[in-house]
C-alpha cells in the first residue's frame, strides 16, 4: 500500500485523521498531557517504520489503534501498575443512596474527572472494560493479571466513583 520511500504527505494525512484518537488513548492510559504526547510520538514513529508491514487488509486507523493499545498496555504491564491495594474504608459503605435526594442529570463530567484521579489499577481496567469494550479475558491477558483480581479492581473502582459522585453534590 505504501511506497518504499514512505510518502510523507500520505503519512501526514493519516496522522491528521488518527492523531486525536491516539493522543486521547495516551491521556486515558497515562493521565497527563506530556506522557500522552510521548506515547503518541512513540506510536507514530513506530508506525512509520512499520508501514511496510501494514497489509491494507483493515483500515489504517484500526491497525494503528491496535498497535497503540498494545504499546500502551505493554508499557503499563512492564511498569507493574496493576498491583491490588486495599480499598479505602471511606468507600466501603454498602448502604443504598437515599431516594429523592439525588439529581443524576449531567453526571458524566464528574465521573470523567474523578476517573482520571483514580489509581492506575482501578482506572485502566475500568477504561478498558467500559470505554474500549474489551472482555475480561482480553484485559486479563493484556495486563497480565488474574481474572478475579481484575473483576475485583473494576468493582472497587466503580464503588469509589459512586462514592465520589454522591459526595460531589448530585443532590437536588
Amino acid at each position: 500500500m505504501f511506497d518504499q520511500d514512505k510518502n510523507r504527505d500520505e503519512f501526514e494525512r493519516l496522522f491528521d485523521e488518527t492523531s486525536k484518537s491516539i493522543f486521547n488513548l495516551g491521556l486515558r492510559l497515562f493521565r497527563n498531557r506530556e506522557d500522552a504526547m510521548d506515547f503518541a510520538q512513540d506510536v507514530y514513529l513506530q508506525a512509520y517504520t512499520k508501514l511496510d508491514s501494514f497489509q491494507g487488509g483493515s483500515k489504517f486507523s484500526t491497525w494503528l489503534y491496535s498497535v497503540a493499545m498494545n504499546m500502551g498496555l505493554n508499557r503499563i504491564r512492564k511498569e507493574k501498575k496493576m498491583t491490588v491495594e486495599t480499598i479505602d474504608e471511606e468507600f466501603a459503605s454498602t448502604e443504598a443512596a437515599a431516594a429523592d435526594e439525588l439529581d443524576l442529570s449531567d453526571t458524566s463530567e464528574i465521573i470523567q474527572e474523578e476517573l482520571l484521579k483514580l489509581e492506575d489499577h482501578y482506572r485502566i481496567p475500568l477504561i478498558l472494560y467500559y470505554f474500549e469494550k474489551m472482555s475480561y479475558g482480553e484485559i486479563s491477558e493484556k495486563l497480565d493479571i488474574k481474572a478475579g483480581t481484575l473483576k475485583s479492581n473494576i468493582h472497587r473502582g466503580k464503588t469509589i466513583l459512586r462514592a465520589k459522585l454522591i459526595a460531589r453534590g448530585i443532590h437536588k
Binding site: 498531557r33 510520538q41 443512596a97 443524576l104 458524566s108 476517573l115 466503580k158 454522591i166
Partner: protein, 157 residues
C-alpha cells in the same frame, strides 16, 4: 423482599430477568441502578481533548531528519580511513606523480567533504534523539530567567 444492590454494583449489564423485574417494584434498587448506570455511562462516553500542535511538529521533525543507516556511516568512515593509504600507494607506485597545488587543494576538499559526510548524519541523529531534552533545558532556562529574584531566594535558602 430480596434486594439486588450488590448485583447492581457488580455490573448492571449482568442483571438477571428477576432482578430487572425487581427494579420496577423497589425504589432503593432502582435508584442504585440509576447511580451505577450514571457511573458506567460516564466512563463509556469519555470526551476527547484536542491534540497539541507540538505533537505533529515533534513527529515530523523526527521523520524528516535524514535517515542514515549504519552502513552509510561505516562506508564513509572506511573511505576516510583508506584515503591516505590509497594516496601513499599511488605515490609509491607512481613516483613521478606530481602533486601540484591544484591536486593538493582537490585532495583537501575531498577529505573535507568526507569528514562532513560522516559528521553531519551523526549530528542529525544525535540532535533528533535529544531534541526533547534540549527543549526541556531551554524551557527550564527561560523559566529561571523570568523569575530570577524568586529563584535566587530559593537558592539562598
Amino acid at each position: 423482599m430480596k434486594h439486588y444492590i450488590e448485583e447492581i454494583r457488580q455490573d448492571t449489564a449482568g442483571l438477571t430477568q428477576e432482578a430487572r423485574r425487581h427494579l420496577r417494584e423497589c425504589a432503593a434498587c432502582s435508584r442504585e441502578y440509576q447511580i451505577m448506570r450514571a457511573v458506567e455511562t460516564g466512563i463509556e462516553s469519555m470526551t476527547e481533548s484536542s491534540v497539541p500542535a507540538e505533537l505533529k511538529i515533534r513527529i515530523f521533525a523526527r521523520i524528516s531528519s535524514p535517515v542514515y543507516r549504519l552502513w552509510h556511516l561505516l562506508a564513509a568512515a572506511l573511505m576516510l580511513a583508506s584515503s591516505p593509504v590509497l594516496l601513499k600507494y599511488l605515490l609509491t607506485k607512481n613516483p613521478s606523480l606530481y602533486l601540484n597545488e591544484y591536486t593538493l587543494i582537490s585532495l583537501f576538499v575531498y577529505f573535507g567533504i568526507l569528514i562532513v559526510l560522516v559528521l553531519l548524519p551523526l549530528t542529525f541523529q544525535l540532535f533528533g534523539q535529544y531534541e526533547t531534552k534540549i527543549h526541556e533545558i531551554e524551557k527550564a532556562f527561560d523559566h529561571y530567567l523570568e523569575h530570577p529574584v524568586r529563584n535566587l531566594a530559593k537558592i539562598w535558602r
